[in-house]
């Protein structure tokens, strides 16, 4: 759907709804939703489009407002999440990968996506499709408290359907191993911003090896000082260029790998 191709009257109502959402005026949001419904516009397509744009632009209040619209008009919350909120996160992730966006833009987009997700959470029933999402154990290595990059990787992995077990920052090596075992992880993702803590990464990898777990999980390493060369040298599978690269690499690799059940049994 192209919003700027809609009739002017509808575009006017959308703008008013944006403003009401920004003012957190719930009554006005409801009223304008009703008005939009009477215009006959494809409300589901419009809402998903508005959600993806507002997340991409990091407009937290607006994406919260349109999430409420989605709930009101009865869009399946999973669809709202994947085709609205997460789609917006992927859009800004792609721009970042092309050098057209900066980290703060990713962060406000991420915060908008999570804001919407919180509103959806009470309406989301457990996924009954029978297909378990792949789990990624993620954390910043011991000695390093920087977790912005790690959080962005987590956001983009989540937006792409991965279940992330976030160990936080300053994570001791053995906690990566325990979590990988506990959650039968598909991948372990380690990050560090500092050259001083890079040596923690090979430590985790050698612990995976000595525990007989290395062939069960993919290992991603990343952060400002980490290069592809370094990743290869320490026996990691990949050092993606950025958060978006991490999600697309992992998505691709799991389709060509044995299933979790096969690897862990």
């Amino acid at each position: 759907m192209q919003i700027d191709e809609l009739p002017e009257e509808i575009q006017g109502l959308i703008e008013q709804l944006d403003e009401a959402a920004e003012d957190e005026d719930e009554e006005a949001v409801e009223e304008l939703t009703e008005k939009l419904l009477t215009t006959g516009v494809d409300m589901e397509a419009l809402t998903l489009k508005k959600l993806s744009i507002s997340v991409m632009d990091g407009e937290e209040e607006i994406s919260a407002g349109w999430t409420k619209v989605a709930l009101k008009i009865g869009i399946d919350p999973f669809k709202t999440l994947l085709e609205g909120l997460a789609a917006g996160m992927s859009l800004i992730g792609d721009k970042y990968a092309k050098g057209e966006a900066f980290v703060p833009q990713l962060m406000i987009a991420s915060s908008s996506m999570y804001g919407g997700m919180e509103l959806l959470a009470p309406y989301m029933e457990a996924n009954t499709s029978g297909e378990e999402p792949s789990t990624v154990v993620i954390g910043t290595v011991e000695g390093d408290v920087h977790d912005i990059g790690k959080n962005l990787v987590k956001t983009l992995l989540s937006a792409n359907g991965f279940n992330c077990v976030d160990l936080g920052n300053d994570v001791e090596a053995d906690r990566f191993i325990e979590a990988a075992k506990e959650y039968k992880a598909t991948a372990v993702s380690m990050s560090t911003l500092m050259t001083t803590t890079m040596a923690e990464m090979p430590k985790v990898i050698s612990m995976l090896e000595s525990g007989g777990l290395r062939d069960k999980v993919k290992v991603m390493v990343g952060g400002a000082p980490i290069t592809t060369d370094y990743a290869a040298r320490i026996g990691a599978d990949v050092s993606p260029d950025d958060a978006a690269g991490a999600a697309s690499w992992l998505k691709e690799i799991i389709t060509s790998s044995p299933s979790n059940t096969d690897r862990w049994n």
Partner: protein
């Protein structure tokens, strides 16, 4: 080439674009395990014991042959003195700030100079001046944008840095945090200059294009760094500015702060940076990890590459890693000296 100079003379000449006998070799933070152990330092005492601190930091000058003695070890002193939680790390891991304030009103810096860690820096500067009069004594300090980020949390800084460009109200919030950071910076700077520092080395790690947008740096970062820099210059002391990441998009702004030299990391194309910075000396940009696991050839190659690119001093792209080895540090200093003998 100038006649033989002391490290201090060499360093100050470089800052003033005057001839040097060899290019200076400089360091940022210097918590090097080998030197701590050789000088009898004990963790975590060496963070609060000026003597242990100076003895370890001094070996970068006396043993490795660098031109600066840099104290303290790490970017946590300002935060711990303000009452934030700091995890002290290990002998090979620098302390890190673990908490932040919710509101600017919570920040109390009335007794900042009374804090034992701040006092350690001040005493260490005095002691280093006494022990190593021919070295350049350089305190390693947290610059205003980064300090504001420590106060409000780095994630909040990054988000507010974009929101403040969009909305006036958010800009007011940002300015409130920044002005507190600046006040603290000035108090600490004055004490360091009065203790005899030869230059104040500021890291504004969080002003990096990796974390905030260049537009924010130009609008907020440059003016606040300049204000701090002018304050330092008025006391008759030079200052150096380091920002992490590929800083080419903001070098022009860094040069406009009035800093006496700019330190850049290995992600930066030295030639480009030098071209943009004009008369402001650029220093850098050897990969720090080479001091831990680099071969002699790699160290020489990177040192020469930076200097060939126009760097006025050789410096690591970030602090010296704790696991750096003295033989590699010496290889680096020799590489800079050999380059100087050939090219100066």
């Amino acid at each position: 080439m100038a006649t033989e100079m002391t490290s201090r003379e060499r360093f100050l000449a470089m800052l003033n674009n005057k001839p040097v006998d060899r290019v200076p070799v400089l360091t940022g933070s210097t918590m090097v395990v080998e030197y701590i152990e050789k000088s009898g330092g004990k963790w975590p005492e060496y963070h609060s014991n000026p003597e242990m601190m100076v003895n370890a930091a001094g070996m970068m000058y006396t043993d490795a042959g660098l031109d600066t003695v840099v104290v303290p070890f790490g970017m946590f002193v300002e935060s711990i003195a303000l009452g934030l939680d700091v995890k002290m790390g290990r002998i090979d891991i620098q302390p890190s700030v673990r908490s932040f304030f919710k509101k600017p009103e919570e920040v109390n810096y009335e007794n900042f100079l009374e804090n034992p860690y701040v006092k350690t820096t001040i005493d260490a500067i005095k002691l280093a001046k006494e022990k190593y009069p021919d070295a350049a004594i350089v305190p390693f300090l947290v610059a205003p944008v980064t300090l504001a980020g420590d106060l409000m949390g780095a994630e909040n800084l990054s988000m507010l840095s974009i929101k403040c460009l969009q909305k006036e109200k958010q800009m007011e919030k940002m300015e409130e945090w920044i002005s507190i950071a600046l006040e603290i910076n000035k108090i600490y700077a004055q004490a360091c200059v009065e203790a005899g520092a030869d230059l104040l080395y500021y890291s504004d790690a969080s002003a990096s294009p990796n974390l905030v947008m260049p537009e924010f740096y130009y609008k907020v970062g440059v003016p606040v760094e300049k204000e701090l820099g002018d304050f330092i210059h008025n006391m008759g002391c030079p200052w150096e500015l380091h920002i992490c990441g590929d800083t080419v998009p903001i070098i022009e702004g860094m040069a406009a702060t009035g800093a006496d030299c700019l330190s850049v990391e290995q992600a930066v194309d030295m030639k480009k940076a030098v071209e943009i910075a004009g008369n402001v000396p650029i220093v850098g940009n050897v990969t720090p990890l080479l001091m831990v696991e680099g071969t002699e050839e790699q160290i020489i190659c990177e040192t020469r590459k930076g200097l060939d690119g126009g760097a006025k001093a050789s410096m690591l792209g970030c602090g010296t890693p704790p696991l750096a080895t003295s033989d590699r540090l010496k290889t680096w200093v020799k590489a800079a000296a050999d380059w100087s003998a050939e090219k100066l």
